[in-house]
Amino acid sequence: MRRVLRALDWRICVPALVLCTAGVVLVWSSTRTAIHDTGAYLTRQVGYGLAGLALMAALATVSRWSLRAWSVPAYLVACLGLAAVLTPLGVTVNGSRSWLGIGGLQFQPSEPAKLALVLALAAVLGSPSADAPGLPGRPAARLPAALGVAAVPVGLVMLQPDLGTALILAAITAGMLVIAGTPWRWLALLAAAAAGAGALAWWLDLLKPHQVERLLTFADPSADPQGSGYNAVQALQTVGSGGILGRGLFRGDQTGGHFVPEQHTDFIFTVAGEELGFAGATLLLVLLWGILWRGLGIAARAASPYERLVAGGIVCWLAVQSAINVGMVLGLAPIVGVPLPLLSYGGSATLTCLAAAGILMSVRADRRPVPALSLAAR
């Protein structure tokens, strides 16, 4: 128990706990007038939160060695999960085949896949050549390996199709390549290639109609306010009507009237905006930023490149996901289905985010330098 307490980093723990609690309250508010099972969302989200916190505490005490040992299996399992979604085991929700139905439970493998990708990329990019004999040691060889590792889950997610998660997986890869010290020339080349691929995809009509529609709506939400632009317009109205101090918890009429679809999941930030106002919404953003800042601090002081990459990758993931989510609510990004870390309703996302927080803490707790490396350094 003391080991657990020592491992916990209050600068991550406290904001995470506050955000989880806020998430539970906002999910409650957003589903308080639901027609069916009003309280069910609340109790389920409380359960997810508690399970997630337990997972976080457990992971905080994991040593770097076991973490590293689990990286590759986790990656493989995640890829299997993503592949399983495409089999008859998968369940389609909102046009995307992103769910695995096991018994009565539904599970979204793309959420833990993000964390698994971080671990796998860290293993690839952060392995000293001596540590991992099977992997190429020089950065020049690591880049293609990393791209290969990333390509599998990105490809599987694109098949669902889930543009948002694919974007986040790509962003994680890019961020970790940056942190890994990949030369800028190569990165520029990669960016150009990605842009080219995107243009080609557009040109060849590879995107699904609803994805194209979302992108067009982002360019001009008022073009079709009742149709595809409805979500964007209503989200802005809901956030905007909060003002500085908000309407008060459980008192938002837009929220109570369910004007924003998916307001308990991807659009949970509209509830914060309307009911807690600029003050409350900004506080939530600051808390999120606080976790990320702390995560980067941990990364900076990490004992090994692997751990630095794990921490940095988690930060990149959460930062990009938060920015895309809040950005789409505020009309800065096209509407893609990604949850807001720690706040949105959902078991897979909540558990994965808290697990990530736990891993951040474990990186911090295990600050002793890697023996081999320290020997080499001295």
Binding site: V178, T238, G240, G273, A281, L285, L330
Partner: protein
Amino acid sequence: MRSRIVLVQLLVTCLFFVLVGRLWQVQVVDGDRYARAASADHERHVVVQPVRGRIVDDRGRPLVRNRTAMTISIDRTVLTRLPDGGREVLGRLARLLGTSREEIETRIRPCDGPARKDCWAGSPYQPIPVAEAVDEKIAFQIVERPDRYPGVVAEPQPVRDYPNGELAAHVLGYVAPDDRSPGQSAPVGRDGLEAVYDAELRGTPGGRRLVVDAAGRVVRTLSEQPATPGATLVTSIDSRIQRASERALKRAVEKARGRGRPADQAAAVVLDARTGRVVALAALPTYDPTVWVGGIDPDEYARLTSKEGGPLLSRAIQGQWAPGSTWKVTSVAAAVADGRPLHGSYPCPGHYRVGDRDFRNFRGIGYGHISLRRALEVSCDTIFYRFAYEMWRENPRRHPMVKMARAFGFGRPTGVDLPGEAAGHLPKGDWELPGYAANFAIGQGEVLVTPLQLARAYAALANGGKVFAPRIAKRIVAADGRVLREVKPPVEGRLPISRRALEYIRAGLRDVTRSGTAAGAFAGFPLDEHPIAGKTGTAEVFGKEDTSWFASFDKRYAVVVMVAQGGGGGETAAPAAAEIWKAIHRVGGR
């Protein structure tokens, strides 16, 4: 690698600054705009219609009141969420109501422009009434099977109720949906008292500000202002006398028809001569005002408004006929005012030559030299031909008889508080040929009067010369009992006749019911107890049967009866008037 972490720190921080900045822009800078747009989406204003005021007679007996009837409304927000947009439900409802689905769809289609009849201009979130005053058996099929009729609401709504059936239909008028803003407001008064006192009867609508959810369901009520019910209109109509008048008219018409007269139109007016208030106002043909409740069907409307004999017209104020001999009171007054001795003796030959034309008495009978009283009693024409001819010679540009007729209030609307009143017609009195003047003197030719005009002229004889603008409304009483307004008939003018002359004319007219042209009609009436003065009129109409008139009064009331194509005044109108008088004084069998 360290520097890369710093770079990511910078990027992440910038990203959050951008988000907070955008949040500030959306919530603080543009917050009001978004809040207004949001309110427009989740706030609804629903108008609460007030209950329309009642119309009661002078004893407080209701003439028009309200009853609750089942109204079928459609909630479009529910309908549009059905898989087929509600087509099946509307089809089912149309079969139940005996109409077509297209018709219902037309009524509930929201207007995308100016309000028209074939679309719904009200709030799309308010249930749209598609059938009013529906039979309860039909309504309960909807109430009991909500699963078969989703989005269809059957609820009780107040509609106009006429406890006395057709009684005073023309006076009361009717209500119908407002053409200018169908659906927006309660039905408005379109004729009769309902139209004239619409503002008072209508009341003030209340409102409810509701918060609805995205599906249009009401979440809660923000504020509620109750509707103020319409005021009660107290009239001077005595429903007992009104009923007697209508019955007398019907009987007179039936009897006249029995004698072979067409008797196609009729009217009766009872005024309180002392106050100028209308006690009864009856007209035939009439109609049942309940046809308007729940919307009139087109065939019925066509029948009501057909040009010939359309029963919507109130013959008492909108019909105009030559007054015949009832007119002679104005001629006597003009002759006396022109300087002829009141107690003089005047020749009443069988024929009188005016210019180059011979004018005859009724059946050419002469009475020798008679007084003016006797002239009224036996309805001598030649005396008046002479007066008219003499006056024409003295004053060919402005005939004094026309001037006197104007003083009696003819030639212009009486100003009664009913819509669409006719003005009657008076010639200018600058005749080139004296024959016109002679005809005018006996109420023939160019002169046209409404029964109400004649009644107020006779009321002026009764009350000492006051010509009233008659009123039906007496007072307007708010729903809480406060008197909002007293209505008093204004005095429009005074007869330019001396008291003596007035008394003389009255005495002459009293003889009419005792021994004159109406003696038969008033046989058996207790004239000693209730002396009635009156004058018969039989006006010739080219190509038609004569118009039968009887104008009468006592100390308090003035009663005028007119039966178009009803024959002689003593034969048809006078007995009907006698019947009304019996009702007024509660004599006889009833």
